[in-house]
Amino acid sequence: MSSKFKSFTVPTARMMPVIILADVSGSMTKQGKIAILNRAIAAMIQEFKDDTFALVDIHVAVITFGKGGAVHHIPLTPATKIQWEDMKAEGTTPMAAAFELVKQLVEDRDTIPSRSYYPNLILVSDGVPTDDKGKASKNWKESLNKLLTSDRTSKAVRFAMGIGEDIDRDVLNAFVANQSIQIPVFTADETNIQRFFRWVTFSVATRSRSADPSQLQQLVDPNTLDLDDIDF
């Protein structure tokens, strides 16, 4: 017998957003970092595409910050429909603008309805945040504070990776602070950027297959976990 409820219900599964904030400043061209980051994000999206066990629709957005400020490199899109295009690295590190853009996105109830599971925010940077003119700046503090005190964005799960020796640990630590479970900052060099994304993919995939995707389990420290042998 056909469902009498069908014409009154939403025809899609609930969404779990994964939003990447990617530093594409000029320094990301050194040691091939941007190329490795491109491959790592593309691999993560492919893992989501291939995951036949997921009980939620994983949607991915990529916000880049570099030359020209913060922009949507990929708007929030079902992972299954994304055709990855490589990011290009150039310019400064306007991280504050990226925080403002992601807050706008998460607070938009039309784009991310309240029936969604909470978003995952992933910050990747290799340097010190700058202002519009390229000078090192603490202007990220105000933007991050707004993000962390907003109605919805404050409830997102937040991951962070710092690449190389020139990172600003204060901003990365502040980004992941005060969550329901402790999520450490992942520190990387160009050889283990992919490792971080495998860890994030593992966390998202585990919850997307879980009976209650809103339950965040304690995560193993990615700096010590051997992820090379994990199949998702």
Binding site: S3, F5, F8, R115, R152, D212, S214
Partner: protein, 242 residues
């Protein structure tokens, strides 16, 4: 005020265990109750918060607390709705003992038509409380969720009656109906089709014999047409039939 004959008020509902709890071999952590007594006719539903160990009992006790609070409240002349809510909190706190309030946290939604015909609809936590007027217009309690799925408040979390959404009307008019639904249903309903959804429940389900209606509703909820639906699901209806 004109009294409404009890046989002109119909209440029904159903609740099923979601696939998430079936897989985990956990019981249904939603509950519902409906009934008539001297104070009037009511329906109540509740959704025990998933991560809490005593959620099932908390949800069941929420419905019982509503029923018992209405009995006391309905005996008092001119008692305010706030007093009713305070009674619900107190009774629920007693009923969940020896478990802690926090371990038993649950949403609580109800509607009651007093024997004098007065309507009270109230909501604490997520879910849906909506009234469809006989002409098709819809009024819903505006319990705005600030976060995402499965993040809410309820008995055992809230400490204030101000956290409730409440609506009182002097009378429920002929043909008006109220729908209560837990978020396993409410989140997946198209908001612009809500009035039609209630109308369908009144047209297709309300006329059935009670047991057959309960079976039919349970079947609809088990076969809920949303991909990968996981949550327990509960709805109930209170209707002043023509």
């Amino acid at each position: 005020m004109t009294e409404i004959s009890n046989n002109k008020l119909i209440s029904f509902g159903a609740s099923i265990t979601g696939s998430q709890h079936k897989r985990d071999r956990r019981p249904n952590e939603d509950a519902w109750m409906g009934g008539q007594s001297k104070f009037g006719t009511f329906v109540a539903i509740s959704d025990g918060l998933g991560s809490k160990p005593n959620a099932r009992q908390g949800a069941k006790m929420a419905c019982r607390a509503v029923k018992d609070a209405l009995r006391h409240w309905g005996n008092s002349v001119d008692a305010s709705p706030t007093l009713l809510l305070r009674l619900i909190h107190i009774l629920w706190n007693l009923y969940v003992l020896p478990a802690s309030e926090n371990d038993s946290a649950t949403t609580c939604l109800f509607a009651v038509i007093s024997s004098e015909g007065k309507l009270v609809m109230a909501q604490l936590g997520d879910g849906l409380v909506a009234m469809r007027k006989a002409d098709g217009t819809l009024h819903r309690l505006n319990f705005e969720r600030t976060g995402f799925s499965n993040q809410t408040t309820g008995l055992g979390i809230s400490r204030s009656t101000q956290d409730w959404q409440i609506l009182t009307l002097p009378v429920l008019e002929i043909g008006d109906a109220i729908l209560l639904a837990t978020d396993g249903i409410a989140e997946d309903l198209q908001s612009d089709r809500l009035s039609d959804f209630i109308d369908m429940l009144l047209t297709d389900f309300a006329p059935m014999p009670p047991y057959q209606r309960w079976q039919a509703l349970c079947r609809e909820l088990r076969e809920f047409p949303v991909p990968n639906h996981l949550d327990d699901k509960t709805l109930s209806v209170l209707w002043r039939q023509p």
